[in-house]
Structure formats: structure tokens, C-alpha cells
Symmetry: C2
Subunit: 149 residues, 2 copies
DNA sequence: AGGATAGATGAGAATCTATTGCAACTTGGG
DNA sequence: CCCAAGTTGCAATAGATTCTCATCTATCCT
């Protein structure tokens, strides 16, 4: 698992610093049950409850930073704000099937997709950070419902 | 190509209406060169220039509606706001490779992904609307640059 | 064709997510 | 141990999207 030591090394390499806030954020995501993801607000509240408050701006800044470093994945699910989760390699790597009506989201795994993503990035000379298949669909329940969208 | 007649039929079926605004929006997207996509603002301005102004609220409402009907694809690229494009089947269906630093975006095609998406949705009993692979990466130019993120 | 009705539009206000400016504080390097 | 550059927190701000509501109109019914 990605360690605080690697985080520090990677930050320092670029002239940046390991702060207690960054360390805390990394640890929260590492301890999150598989398949869970947090929004900036979620993380903020969670830390408040734990008595380890970090300002919302710092949270936004670092979520973005860690996503750009490839440590976190930035997910655009259906709620209208971004969610983040730890970026895991092959056996844990997964994708999302989202119902556009009720927002129910199912995770699924598929190793081929990650391979496709890696190949495509490489072909164009890009350095891969994350790849995610997003499927927008209507779940069985919503298909049966007569309610408007 | 998806016709105004089908749009009307599909709307009426659900108790909704074909309005001149909806017709106009559909036509704009149908006439868009392949690979182009518009934000709500883009569409609004484009129509203003053409002297066919539609209010921004109506544009937002209908972009969302048409995406939920599966007529448009909602793309979350790197600019911080959504983009829309016509939702095309197999030979035109494509995905996006995005540089998280400079936002440069490359389109690429891959029929396997669409098949995977369809299969996954079907397996869960979901009705597929759209599926898109999003690759976040760093482009060659940004890899060479020493600038911060 | 004419009327009724539920749905749609437009304009602007309101909401919400995310970013930014700045002063004070810290980290990492020398 | 000290300094320069990076970070943080707070408040203000920006930007995208949604909402409210009065007015209008596409459809359906007769």
C-alpha cells in the first residue's frame, strides 16, 4: 500500500512538503473500506467528528493535488460533486455503473479496461494516472417506475 | 440519424412535449462536426449568434433531459463544467484521453469498450444509455515541463 | 376547430461546489 | 538553527447549475 514515506518522497522530489494535513488525508483514504469514496464535504465532516479538523480549502487543494499525482481517483458520479477514492492497481481496480434517475451506483471489475487505458495512454506518449469506465443507465427499479425522470 | 419525429414520439410517450426549443437543440447537435461538444454556455452563445436565442435555464433543463433520454452524452472533461455531444452508436462511438495539467483532450475509438459496457449493464438488468472510458493522464509536453502542476 | 390542462419557458434569484487572495505559520534545506 | 518557499485557514469570490413563479403553449378531448 502507498505509504506516507512514499508520499513524502514524491512531494519533496517536486519541491513540495509533507504536512500533517496531507498525511491525515492519505490515512483516511487508506483506511476507507473498499469501494467507498468521499466528497470534499464528506472528508471535512469526517475529520471534524474525529477532532482532526482540516479547513475545507485545504481539503479541496489536496484532493486535487493527490488526484493529479495519481494517488487518488477523482470520480464524477451522479451527485453533482466529485468523489475521491484511493487509486488501486489491477486486482482492486474497478468501474462504475450509474442509474441516472436514482443515482444508484454499482461497482464492477474488468481488467481488460485498465489494460486498454494503459495501452492507449502509452500509444500517445501520455503518462497514465487513472482510467475509469462510466456507464450511465437506468436501473431495473426505475425502468418499472412510471414516475418522471 | 435520430430524427425530430422520433424525439416527438419519445417525448409524447412519456407525457412530455416537443417544443421549438427542443427541436432547435437537437438540430444543433446533429449538425455539429464529429468530435465536437458544447457546454450549456457554448450552446447558448451559439444560438444567440444565430438569432435563435433560448434561455439558459431552458438549455440546462433540456441538456439534462436529453442526456437522460440517451440522446446526448454528458461529458465531464477537464474544464470544470459539463459538455454535451450527440450519442452515437458503434462506428462513431469514442472515448477521451485527458491531460490533467493542460486539459488537452484526445479522442479515441474502441468498440470493445462499448460492448463491455452493454454487457455489464445487461447483466445487472440496467438499460444502457451511454458508456465512456475516461483516461486521466499527463501529456508528453507537460511531462517535460518543470512547471508545477 | 376550440377549450382545458398539464407541461414548458424565461428571467432572475438562490444555491452549491470549488477556487482564490492574503496574512500567519511550517517544512525542508543549508 | 535560520531562511525561503510552500502551506494553511479564513473569508471573499467565482462559476455552474437549479429553482421559483408568472406566463405561455403543445396536446388531448369533445
Amino acid at each position: 500500500m502507498y505509504s506516507v514515506t512514499s508520499l513524502k518522497a514524491e512531494l519533496n522530489e517536486r519541491g513540495w512538503r509533507l504536512t500533517p494535513q496531507r498525511e491525515t488525508i492519505l490515512q483516511v483514504f487508506q483506511n476507507l473500506p473498499e469501494g467507498q469514496h468521499l466528497s470534499a464535504e464528506d472528508l471535512h465532516n469526517l475529520l471534524l467528528e474525529d477532532g482532526e479538523a482540516i479547513s475545507l480549502s485545504t481539503i479541496y487543494r489536496n484532493l486535487k493535488l493527490m488526484a493529479r499525482m495519481g494517488i487518488l481517483r477523482e470520480l464524477e458520479l451522479a451527485e453533482g460533486h466529485k468523489h475521491y477514492e484511493i487509486n488501486q492497481p489491477a486486482p482492486y481496480h474497478h468501474h462504475h455503473l450509474i442509474c441516472v434517475r436514482c443515482n444508484k451506483t454499482i461497482e464492477f471489475k474488468n481488467d481488460t479496461i485498465l489494460k486498454t487505458g494503459a495501452k492507449t495512454a502509452q500509444k500517445e506518449g501520455y503518462h497514465l494516472l487513472d482510467c475509469q469506465l462510466i456507464i450511465h443507465a437506468i436501473c431495473p427499479t426505475c425502468q418499472r417506475s412510471l414516475l418522471p425522470m
